[in-house]
């Protein structure tokens, strides 16, 4: 037991080192970061955080990112829940092929879609809006969501559906009252995966926004320029960037393993 505890502590310490390093770097002056290796800031400074909080660009970037991630998660779930139900419950011609084909979208590099999306969104007048990124991320998130949710849904016996219909439930009522609560954890974990992808994705987010909808991942790239790397600023922004993810992880932590196995545990 004791050995196990020690091993766990060591494991967590190792996991924690990069985060600790990021936090202390964000509190050091640039001079200290470049000059020497210190394990604790000699002189604590909040100027990097101040730069982020007082800058309209940074503030808007965080808001933009959160907005399109939220929109994307909602759109993905709205499309993927019925889709996954169809794949899990009904066998139709080509359903297996179609189910596999969904994944091929994930195999194409995002860069492939840059030019077509730019054109399409320009025509639709949504270029450089949060909608453009939210929609573009659906291309990758919806297939993933269907795969995860299908796993969760297939884990629920069909008898439950049948019993509900015998009891006189209409399909929408059954779906809302019985089925959705049963796959609740699956929805949570799917939302988490979609959130994570959309939150960190750079290529499409960069290609589809200019100034109005610029996300935080793009603003972060400004820290690396012709004057070297703004380590302190990047560390502070990096730390702030992992907070929303950490909050989401906290809520779905119990279902993570199942999510990684696409629901099939």
């Amino acid at each position: 037991m004791r050995k196990r505890s020690i091993a766990l502590i060591v494991y967590f310490v190792l996991l924690f080192i990069p985060i600790y390093w990021m936090v202390i770097t964000s509190l050091k002056t640039d001079n200290e970061i470049l000059k020497e290796l210190t394990f604790f800031p000699k002189e604590i400074t909040f100027k990097h955080y101040m730069e982020i909080f007082t800058s309209e660009v940074w503030r808007n970037s965080f808001i933009n990112s959160l907005t399109y991630v939220f929109l994307n998660v909602i759109m993905t779930l709205v499309a993927a829940i019925p889709g996954a139900y169809a794949f899990s419950r009904w066998n139709f011609r080509g359903s297996h092929h179609l189910f596999f084909w969904l994944l091929t979208n994930r195999m194409a590099p995002a860069a492939v879609f840059m030019i077509p999306f730019t054109e399409l969104y320009y025509i639709l007048h949504i270029y450089d809006t949060v909608w453009a990124v939210a929609l573009a991320h659906c291309l990758i998130n919806i297939p993933l969501a269907i795969w995860i949710l299908e796993g969760f849904m297939s884990g629920i016996p069909r008898e439950i559906d049948e019993t509900a219909f015998i009891d006189g439930y209409s399909f929408p009522r059954f779906f809302r009252k019985i089925f959705l609560p049963l796959i609740g954890p699956g929805i949570g974990v799917t939302a988490f995966f979609c959130f994570t992808f959309s939150w960190v994705e750079l290529i499409l987010a960069q290609a589809l926004t200019v100034t109005n909808a610029k996300p935080v991942v793009v603003t972060l790239t400004v820290g690396i320029g012709a004057e070297g790397v703004k380590w302190g600023l990047l560390a502070a922004a990096g730390f702030l960037t992992i907070i929303p993810g950490a909050v989401v992880v906290y809520f779905v932590r119990n279902y993570m393993a199942k999510g990684f196995a696409l629901g099939r545990v």
Partner: protein, 565 residues
């Protein structure tokens, strides 16, 4: 009738009431910003005249919104935070000056050219792209624009002659396609305090038989690197050289930013060698003809191989062990740690960083005055008088002509001129240390403070400054070709291939790409292959193998005197 009269009177009164504060406000704005734009190279009265011209010229465009973009350096951040506000208050044109990564700027400019969708109204894009712009026919010809369509929005105070290097943004015919907004050179950096130490001087003289000083050529640089490497100074082991070698795109810049021409690969000619320039690409009648020696290029010539060999050899022998795993951005500030004696290739943008200027920095004295100096880049053994000596680039205003037209074009041009106007230039230099005007570097204000900048101002005032230039118009497609450099150089750094093989592969890849390029103007057409001997025996570049050179140094203080004459 009475009602109508009353209405007319009332309207007139309201109009007057609205107009009056407007006028007062705009004049207040000019006064306010004149105070902000101090120090200035011109008098307040001259500033007022210039800013009033902007106000008047912008009247038809009042209320417009435009978008510009630049990479993330202090100069551009200041433009975004301060100048955009000033411009809006004075002219009524709202500007969003977007600051993004350098790579992202190149990516967006290419996408705007491809899709013809106006992502931005104007770009600050490196003048290294000039060869691409002129061949893709993508940039607005500013010379023509200023004379014709844009006459009314071209400032009478623009004074192109006052720009330090307007030629960076010009095509082969001298048309201005891009207007410099900020520029920084790549100079030799060294520890003046160590180089003037009598003990080191005596020891060096005894060991190498000549004076320790600013190396004029690579042979001397190498001796100095060897001399300092491994010494213990101020309690730490020091190194005679600093560089970077990580397999990353920035490794390519190490080479494309004139390393080959410093070695002497190209032909004579300023700002760029013709017919062969620093990338080893031969151009005849504006048409790129090849990079391999077999086609008359020099990218795999003996000089290019020598440049690559020395780069790798020095990094392994004389640089700190971490250098090989660093990128350009990481290696930039490292000489400020105080354990490096010299750096052959230091971008001066870093030298305004607190790491180099803070009184607590190991490379400044107790008053914050630099213990380091900058001097001309030493050149390799293939270099000849009349060739460029080093690299400097100008981030330059560029309007893409197909996607930005009419009023947007006019407003964008006004904004570009505002950011480069004499009214703001000296202040901009004090913030970002990236001068573009002669009037800035020759100003009385900087004359009094010349010593604070470790020789940077002296360099910009010197008669040799124009010998530091950008990539030039010979490179037909900068983004596509630049990408090939780091991949090939990296394989030589790791020892997978020899420098000769690496440069052969690179030159062949460049030829292959150029052979496939179909560009709007002056598209590459490869020369037929001939033997290496044929080309190496022709005068000029590609040059045949040369033997070792005599190391040569010069005392820094004498060099400075020569610069000041």
């Amino acid at each position: 009738m009475r009602g109508t009269l009353r209405l007319a009177l009332l309207t007139a009164l309201v109009a007057a009431a609205l107009a009056l504060p407007g006028t007062v406000f705009a004049e207040d704005a000019i006064d306010k910003w004149i105070d902000e734009f101090q120090p200035s190279a011109i008098s307040k009265e001259e500033q007022r005249k210039e800013l009033e011209w902007f106000k008047k010229a912008a009247e038809p465009y009042k209320g417009m919104e435009i978008k510009s973009v630049a990479e993330g350096i202090t100069t551009h951040k200041w433009e975004a935070d301060v100048l955009a506000k000033a411009f809006e208050e004075i002219t009524g044109i709202k500007v969003t000056h977007d600051i993004i990564g350098e790579g992202a700027v190149v990516d967006r400019i290419q996408r705007q050219i491809q899709t013809r969708r106006p992502l931005y109204d104007i770009y600050v894009n490196d003048a290294d792209m000039i060869g691409t712009h002129l061949r893709m026919d993508s940039a607005l010809n500013l010379t023509e624009y200023m004379k014709g369509e844009g006459k009314g929005v071209t400032s009478p105070y623009l004074d192109l002659e006052d720009f330090l290097n307007p030629e960076f943004g010009q095509d082969y015919d001298g048309n201005q396609l891009q207007l410099p907004d900020q520029q920084f050179a790549n100079l030799y950096w060294f520890r003046y305090d160590w180089f003037t130490d009598p003990e080191f001087k005596a020891e060096f003289k005894e060991k190498y038989g000549y004076e320790l000083g600013v190396p004029v050529n690579w042979a001397a640089y190498e001796d100095i690197a060897e001399f300092f490497t491994g010494k213990t100074i101020d309690g730490q082991t020091v190194y005679g050289h600093m560089d970077y070698g990580k397999k990353s795109p920035s490794l390519g810049w190490r080479f494309t930013d004139a390393w080959l021409s410093i070695a002497g690969v190209g032909d004579k000619g300023l700002p760029n060698g013709l017919p062969v320039d620093e990338w080893g690409i031969r151009v005849e009648n504006k048409i790129p003809r090849g990079a391999t020696v077999e086609r008359g290029g020099a990218a795999n010539s003996p000089a290019a191989v020598y440049a690559t060999t020395k780069y790798i050899e020095w990094m392994k022998k004389y640089a700190p062990p971490y250098a090989a795993s660093m990128t350009w951005s990481e290696a930039g500030p490292t000489p400020a740690r105080g354990n490096v004696a010299q750096r052959v290739f230091q971008y001066i943008t870093w030298l305004s960083d607190p790491a180099f200027t803070d009184p607590e920095s190991p490379v400044t004295d107790e008053n914050g005055k630099p213990l380091w100096r900058v001097a001309p880049t030493p050149h390799g053994r293939y270099w000849e008088e009349g060739m460029k000596v080093g690299y400097q680039d100008a981030g330059s205003w560029t309007i893409l002509k197909d996607s930005v037209t009419g009023d947007k074009r006019a407003a964008a041009w006004l904004w570009a001129q505002f950011c480069t106007s004499k009214s703001v230039c000296l202040k901009k230099f004090m913030v970002g240390r990236t001068p573009i005007r002669k009037s800035t570097v020759h100003s009385d204000y900087l004359a009094e403070r010349e010593g604070d900048f470790g020789g940077i101002i002296t360099f910009y005032k010197s008669p040799v400054e124009h010998m530091w230039t950008d990539s030039g118009p010979n490179v037909p497609h900068y983004p596509l070709l630049a990408e090939q450099w780091w991949k090939n150089v990296a394989s030589a750094v790791t020892g997978e291939v020899t420098p000769q093989q690496a440069m052969d592969n690179l030159a062949e890849t460049m030829d292959d790409i150029m052979g496939k390029l179909r560009m709007a103007k002056y598209s590459p057409e490869l020369n037929p292959k001939k033997s290496r001997e044929y080309w190496l025996n022709q005068p000029g570049s590609p040059k045949p193998e040369r033997g070792p050179e005599e190391p040569k140094t010069m005392p820094y203080d004498e060099m400075i005197k020569a610069w000041k004459q």
